[in-house]
């Protein structure tokens, strides 16, 4: 009995001592490095993580949840997007709708998920519903209108969610403008969204031009003229996509249409590639 005790004591003393020292040092090091970790965690969306986990587990089960938390979040989202694509290709509305929502829960960061998702909801799903409602031409106009409005509404809500994650992305505003224009037939609201897009840092050049065209379409040509006059000086003349010559042409057209006196007409600035910088539109 005494020999057994001394055996246990011998083992416990030597290996346990080493393990205790290792454990103590790890605890101290972990505590010391917490501030470093906290500084880097500030960029992470910490608050949303537990909620996201609970929703995820309820929908997809533990395996996917673990993978999402295990650093394969983007990969899981990509895989889900593939599944979305397959559901879309099969014109499966309920599955496509569910997958679109799931993809953005798993990973809200890729803008492409939101934009393509909104287009599917607004246009493709509308088409599917109209087809299931009846043959081409056989669907009553009221039903058609209702389906368009419903899908457009869903797509716009989807994009409002996107704006909460991507408030400074012009592409979201452009997409909302398109849906208002194409699905809801509301050029006035579309124009507001195009203007909003044009004022964001990553706005495509065409957003500002389309805004002006919509103003003209709405009978607000003077507003369009004023807008284009402010726009043109900001456009780089050496970038084809900026459409500096196109905008100047439209200014001249409006001057003729609105019969602007010669002395009040827009004077295009001297082309000086070296010094000209795009300016913010006031």
């Amino acid at each position: 009995m005494a020999g057994w005790r001394s055996t246990v004591s011998g083992i416990v003393n030597s290996r346990a001592k080493v393990a205790a020292v290792v454990g103590a040092v790890l605890l101290i090091a972990g505590a010391a490095l917490r501030p470093v970790e906290a500084a880097m965690r500030k960029a992470e969306a910490r608050a949303g993580m537990p909620g996201r986990t609970r929703r995820l587990s309820a929908i997809v089960g533990q395996g996917t949840s673990m993978a999402v938390l295990g650093g394969f979040r983007a990969l899981v989202a990509d895989w889900l997007w593939l599944k979305t694509y397959l559901a879309w290709a099969a014109c499966d509305l309920p599955a496509t709708q569910a997958m679109l929502r799931l993809v953005t829960i798993v990973d809200e960061r890729p803008l492409g998920f939101w934009l393509n998702g909104a287009r599917i909801i607004a246009y493709d799903m509308t088409e599917w519903r109209l087809r299931s409602a009846g043959r081409e031409g056989a669907v009553p106009a009221a039903v058609r209108r209702r389906i368009l409005e419903e899908q457009a509404g869903m797509a716009l809500r989807y994009l409002e969610d996107a704006r909460s994650y991507h408030p400074e992305r012009a592409a979201v505003c452009v997409e909302m403008a398109n849906i208002h224009l194409n699905s809801r037939g509301d050029p006035a609201t579309a124009a507001r969204w195009y203007r909003q897009a044009a004022e964001l840092p990553d706005a495509p050049y065409y957003a500002a031009r389309i805004y002006a065209e919509l103003l003209k379409h709405l009978g607000r040509s003077r507003e369009a003229y004023a807008w284009l006059r402010r726009l043109h000086p900001t456009l780089p003349p050496d970038v084809e996509a900026a459409g500096s010559r196109i905008v100047l042409g439209r200014i001249r057209n409006l001057e003729r249409t609105l019969e602007i006196p010669e002395n009040e007409r827009y004077v295009a600035p001297e082309v000086d590639v070296e010094t000209r910088r795009p300016q913010k539109i006031d």
Partner: protein
């Protein structure tokens, strides 16, 4: 001066919670002088390898001290001029013999200038020149043993520790390794040779220390131990008929007790060595 001083070394192992403590060494005290070949003899499990590891600082004793050249053996400095060949070494299979010995030469602190030449010389000394650029994974057991000897000798050690150096080797290979060990002695190196084969210790060592169940039971010069005191053996050619009786009478008349007559015998090992050796199959490679 003593090359190795071992004072009261005791080593206990605790294999597991449910098993009793095992005393592998019990108060071993030993001195090994510089330039001598000391044999460590004992059956399997007697504590020989444990003692060697303590000498090399690879194990810490439970009690006692050990010094190499006056330096405590647990200090890195103590191993500066030590070469060690473990029992049945199994080296990195993906290195060549040359790469392994060069690796050990670097670790042992050999001078960079002339290092590769030193490696080649040692490899030639152990008879592995033709195989030195082949991967160790293709070597036979005998070749690995020679390679082990090469890595032990590449740093020009003053003390060479060999643990069962002929383990798994055929008699010819064992004889060659025996010759190399004799060569070490001629060079004035101290050798500590551990073996469970009495014949090997008898052939190669000046002194022997016998271990049994962790205790040092005997240490003495080999020559003293093996001498059959008070007797003389004569070796003569075949005696003609009748001569034996006359010889016996003469001895008894001079007060010498006559114990008997034997036909001298050789050993099967010697016959094997002479037979195979004469067929000229010595070389670097053994099947």
């Amino acid at each position: 001066m003593n090359a190795i001083e071992i004072d009261g070394i005791t080593k206990d192992f605790t294999p597991g919670l449910r098993e009793a403590k095992v005393r592998a060494l019990d108060g071993v005290t030993l001195r090994i002088r510089e330039g001598e070949v000391m044999g460590l003899l004992g059956p399997n499990g007697s504590g020989k390898s444990t003692l060697l590891k303590i000498v090399l600082g690879l194990l810490a004793p439970t009690a006692g001290e050990c010094r190499i050249g006056g330096v405590p053996s647990d200090r890195v400095e103590a191993r500066r001029r030590v070469g060690y060949l473990p029992e049945a070494p199994d080296f990195y299979p993906h290195l060549t013999g040359f790469e392994l010995v060069l690796f050990h030469a670097r670790l042992g602190g050999t001078a960079r200038v002339g290092r590769k030449e030193r490696v080649e010389a040692v490899i030639a000394e152990v008879g592995l020149v033709e195989a030195m650029h082949r991967r160790i994974g293709t070597y036979s057991q005998g070749m690995r043993q020679r390679l082990g000897l090469a890595q032990a000798l590449v740093t020009d050690p003053r003390l060479v520790i060999l643990d069962e150096p002929t383990s798994g080797i055929d008699p010819i290979g064992a004889a060659e390794i025996g010759e190399m060990i004799n060569g070490l002695k001629t060079q004035g190196r101290t050798v500590l040779l551990s073996s469970h084969l009495p014949g090997q210790i008898e052939d190669l060592c000046d002194r022997v220390a016998m271990l049994d169940h962790g205790r040092l039971v005997l240490q003495e010069r080999v020559e003293e131990l093996t001498r059959r005191r008070g007797q003389t053996a004569l070796l003569v050619d075949r005696l003609p008929a009748g001569t034996l009786g006359e010889l016996r009478s003469w001895l008894q008349a001079h007060g010498v007790e006559f114990h008997g007559v034997e036909t001298p015998r050789t050993s099967l090992e010697r016959v094997f060595l002479e037979t195979i050796g004469s067929l000229g199959k010595k070389g670097n490679e053994r099947s």
